[in-house]
Amino acid sequence: MSVVSVKVSDKTKKEMEEFKEKIEWPSEIRGFIEGRLEQAKREETVERVERVLSGLPKVKTGTASRLVREDRDSGH
């Protein structure tokens, strides 16, 4: 594990101390950082994929569901 330091105001630090029994700061902060990274990765993937896909010629409405339906009804 690596250590990440974050500066907070004296007031925040004091309040964190007050709530340390109720809030497990290390796991909460780890969870937030990991969640935010996952969110950023999802956003980046959507942007990258959309740049590719939006340039493709469109297929007609219903194409996807028809292809999937045929496969399912044939028992895969």
């Binding site: 959507v46 896909l53 493709l56 469109k58 297929v59 569901s65 999937v68 339906r69």
Partner: protein, 146 residues
């Protein structure tokens, strides 16, 4: 509420299908959606068949497949298709004619109390009957039939 994504919706996005509200769909992808591993095989097969029927050419098929796999890796949380999910889907099958594959997605939505992202009318109809909220991913003009 987390959305469960069906292969029909993912393929529609990756084939750049008309009538799909891509902005709404992308918002779901940004938030993260849930599915089962089956979605990758079903989606890949649909893209393959589209290529075989010359609906799309080889280059487009590869771009669609690559995008689908990338989304599956980053934006879709895959839930293990365990025995309970299969049994639940099997039970649902006694009340309708849909394939077990359709029902696995619906069982997952029921299990997590999630919504459904699908382009398949039969699946959507059953989802509504089962009380599963279905996300609206159709463009307004497509709904109006224009």
């Amino acid at each position: 509420m987390t959305a469960v994504i069906d292969a029909s919706a993912l393929v529609a996005f990756c084939l750049n299908e008309e009538g799909l509200d891509r902005e709404k769909f992308k918002e779901h992808l940004r938030n993260g959606v849930i599915s089962i591993e089956l979605i990758k095989a079903e989606s890949a097969n649909a893209i393959l068949v589209a290529k075989r029927r010359l609906t799309i050419d080889e280059k487009i098929a590869k771009l669609s497949l690559g995008s689908m796999l990338e989304i599956s890796l980053t934006n879709i949380k895959m839930i293990p298709q365990d025995d309970e999910l299969t049994s639940d889907a099997f039970e649902l099958g006694s009340q309708n004619n849909l394939a077990l594959y359709d029902l696995l997605y619906l069982s997952l939505a029921m299990r997590i109390n999630g919504t459904l992202l699908s382009k398949d009318e039969s699946q959507i109809k059953l989802a509504k009957k089962l009380g599963i909220k279905v996300e609206d991913i159709l463009k307004i003009d497509a709904v109006a039939g224009n």
